[in-house]
């Protein structure tokens, strides 16, 4: 005690009776606080510690502003709860903002809206082009034509025929089902298919899943019934923690579709986590899930698959080219053959082609034909024409070509065939002699008489036409003996015969020549050769007046 410390008013006095000096009061205070520190020291320090901790926990607005962005980022990295928590507020804020100041809101979202609209239009156009392409492909491919024919014949719309033949798979119904209650949260189906009892189906589907699960699996977490088939339909079930997605698919769903179903149920759980947990029968919270489900309603045709399965036109083109080439070649060949037939007919003596018409199947030729001309069919066939497919109409006419004039004249002069016959008979006659003899024997004499009779008849016929008959006699000898003997012998033989005929037939001019053995008639047999050369033979010439002139053999 220093006694210098002041003592506050009312402070107890020391029992020494000393007056209260200020200095002694100060001492007391210090003493008291020392005492307090001694008695309450540990408690006091703990109190201070708590106070400091308390102050640290209460954030000033400044501190909050400092830490808020980081805190939001941290939580967002952890889970989706922050988004879920903020969503209602943000939605309300946005709708309030839109309600109050629509103009500013429109300005704000304009930069986003423009590209989005452009993208949507571009996608729509792309779809349109793709569907036009498909339609074109269907229209012009052999398969497309076949389907069109089938559609017309059966009266079924073309699209349905395509669907029936080209369908790979078509998603006909999609249900989003609350797993615990089996109640329907949302559904989707193609616009042409109605699903009237979707709520009952989703309930029954849940019941059947439970039934199958209870019957066949012990572990409920194993996933249960995932897919089953009913005729052409496959029902795919993709369960999530709180909801399951059931897709009714006609045909064979591709693996990527299964992945999309999985992604969709995951997306639904991410987006509607709290709504699924709190679901109490009101499905309005799941209306925003509709687009997710609509995305799963797809129809996949095998004509949709792009490259690789395009129609290969090459065989068709090659076949067509070959066909055209073949037809062309056939046409050219037919045309040349026709030209040749007509050309040959026009060049043939006694034919005049007036009109020639070629048809695809049957052709026609009209014209004039001299009766003396060759048969038309022979000429056509020789030129390569098919007479069975050519109709011919020939009018008879008289050609002035020399050959035909002569033929007609010959017919005119010969009249009945007897003149020619007589000439032939005389020419074929031969008067034979014995070896070394110039006197005809009995057979030779008889032959000479016969020849005389024919020549008389011939003279009568020819002179009636104003003509004359000349007969040239040729005497021969066989090769034996000397040339002089032969010459003499042949001369004697021809003279004898000429004299006999001269006396027997009048009006016929005879001439004679003796060849000896110089120009023998040939024969392979030497004996026959010798015999036929011991003879006199005959040639006949008819001299006719103009215009008939001379008829040659």
């Amino acid at each position: 005690m220093t006694g210098t410390h002041p003592v506050p008013d009312g402070a107890p006095l020391h029992d020494d009776g000393m007056p209260n000096a200020p200095s002694s009061t100060d001492d007391r205070v210090a003493e008291m606080s020392r005492l307090r520190a001694l008695l309450l020291g540990p408690e006091r320090s703990r109190l201070d510690e708590h106070e400091a901790r308390f102050e640290a926990q209460v954030l000033t607005p400044e501190q909050l502003a400092e830490q808020l962005p980081e805190a939001i980022a941290m939580r967002a990295r952890q889970d989706t709860q922050l988004g879920i928590a903020l969503a209602p507020t943000v939605e309300r804020a946005i709708s309030e903002s839109v309600r109050r100041r629509p103009g500013e809101f429109a300005d704000a979202i304009f930069p986003v809206l423009g590209p989005a609209i452009r993208k949507a239009i571009a996608e729509t156009m792309a779809d349109l082009v793709a569907s036009i392409n498909r339609a074109m492909e269907h229209s012009f491919s052999p398969r497309g034509i076949r389907w069109r024919v089938e559609a017309i014949r059966s009266g079924v719309p073309f699209a349905q025929v395509v669907l029936r033949h080209a369908l790979v798979y078509r998603v006909e119904q999609v249900f989003l089902v609350h797993k615990e209650t089996g109640l329907l949260l949302a559904k989707a189906a193609p616009s042409d298919l109605a699903v009237p009892d979707a709520d009952l189906v989703s309930g029954m589907l849940t019941a059947i899943r439970d039934f199958v699960g209870d019957s066949f699996t012990e572990d409920a977490a194993a996933g249960g019934l995932r897919a089953f088939r009913v005729g052409e339909l496959t029902v795919m079930v993709e369960p999530g923690p709180h909801a399951m997605l059931a897709a009714v698919v006609r045909g064979e769903p591709a693996p990527e579709f299964h992945e999309r179903v999985q992604a969709t149920i995951e997306g639904v759980h991410a987006q509607f986590a709290s709504a699924l947990v709190d679901f109490d029968g009101d499905d309005t919270a799941f209306a925003p899930a509709q687009p997710l489900l609509d995305d799963l309603i797809v129809t996949v045709l095998d004509t949709d698959t792009p490259a690789g399965k395009a129609v290969d036109w090459r065989p068709v083109v090659v076949t067509l080219v070959l066909l055209v080439a073949l037809l062309g070649a056939l046409a050219v060949r037919a045309s040349t053959r026709w030209d040749r037939v007509i050309g040959t007919l026009e060049a043939a003596p006694g034919f005049t082609v007036v009109r020639a018409e070629r048809g695809w199947w049957q052709s026609e030729i009209r014209g004039l034909r001299d009766p003396d001309a060759e048969p038309a069919n022979a000429i056509i066939a020789a030129a390569g024409g098919d007479t069975s497919r050519i109709v011919q109409r020939w009018e008879p006419y008289q050609s002035l070509a020399p050959a035909f004039v002569l033929a007609r004249a010959a017919r005119a002069v010969s009249g009945p065939a007897d003149i020619e016959q007589l000439v032939r008979e005389v020419r074929a006659s031969r008067v034979l002699f014995e070896i070394g003899s110039a006197v005809p024997g009995a057979p030779g004499s008889a032959q000479i008489d016969a020849i005389a009779a024919r020549l008389a008849a011939l003279h009568a016929r020819v002179s009636a036409l104003g003509g004359e008959v000349e007969v040239a006699l040729t005497g021969r000898a066989d090769g034996t003996g000397t040339d002089a003997t032969n010459a003499m012998l042949s001369q004697q033989r021809v003279d004898v015969v000429r004299a006999t005929l001269d006396s027997a037939v009048s009006g016929v001019r005879f001439s004679a020549r003796a060849l000896g053995a110089s120009a023998p008639v040939d024969d392979p047999d030497p004996a026959t050769r010798a015999r036929v050369n011991r003879s006199v033979s005959f040639d006949v010439r008819l001299l006719l007046p103009p215009p008939i002139r001379t008829l040659r053999e």
């Binding site: 609350h178 797993k179 615990e180 209650t181 089996g182 109640l183 329907l184 009892d197 709520d199 009952l200 189906v201 309930g203 029954m204 019941a207 059947i208 439970d210 039934f211 699960g213 209870d214 109490d280 029968g281 009101d282 499905d283 309005t284």
Partner: protein, 169 residues
């Protein structure tokens, strides 16, 4: 649209199915009872001007061989217990059925349809028995034959379900 899953349970032959037959839109046939053990129907009722769809899970009746399908009770918003007034034992089993349902679905609202009230003369129930039933929930006398009380029962269930504060939940 508000939808509620309501299960109907009861002993075999209490008339559950005929009880709802003419009051619901049915898609599935009776054979589901014997095969899958449940048939699902729909009943739309009007509660205070808004439509409520009751999806009725009509569970196959309990008998000596088969208990009710507990997994079908899961997630139920309400349970209708059906008893046959002419068969006392069907009433005695309500408490046990309620125990099964509560185990599967939780303490959801339940009510009792005391069926065959058209045959009330043949009822084997005493006043006390009926009172005892009330321990399990409100009791509605119904008749599948005449339709008496059925509509009221479904409506009562719907009311309880859309106003959960009034129910047991």
């Amino acid at each position: 649209m508000i939808q509620k899953k309501v299960c109907m349970v009861g002993v075999f032959g209490t008339g559950k199915t005929s009880l709802v037959q003419q009051f619901v839109q049915s898609k599935f046939s009776e054979k589901y009872h014997s095969s899958v053990g449940v048939k699902i129907d729909r009943k739309v009722v009007d509660v205070n001007g808004s439509a409520v769809t009751i999806v009725l899970w009509d569970l196959a009746g309990r008998d000596e061989h088969e208990d009710v399908g507990a997994s079908y009770l899961r997630g139920a918003h309400g349970v209708i217990y059906v008893a046959d007034g002419t068969r006392k034992e069907t009433c005695e089993q309500i408490a046990d059925l309620r125990r099964v349902a509560t185990a599967a679905a939780g303490p959801v609202p339940g009510l009792i349809a005391l069926n065959k009230c058209d045959l009330v003369g043949d009822w084997k129930l005493s006043q006390a028995d009926e009172e005892a039933l009330r321990a399990n929930g409100p009791v509605f006398r119904t008749s599948a034959k005449s339709g008496q009380g059925v509509e009221q029962m479904f409506l009562a269930m719907a009311r309880v379900l859309v106003a959960p504060t009034q129910g047991a939940r």
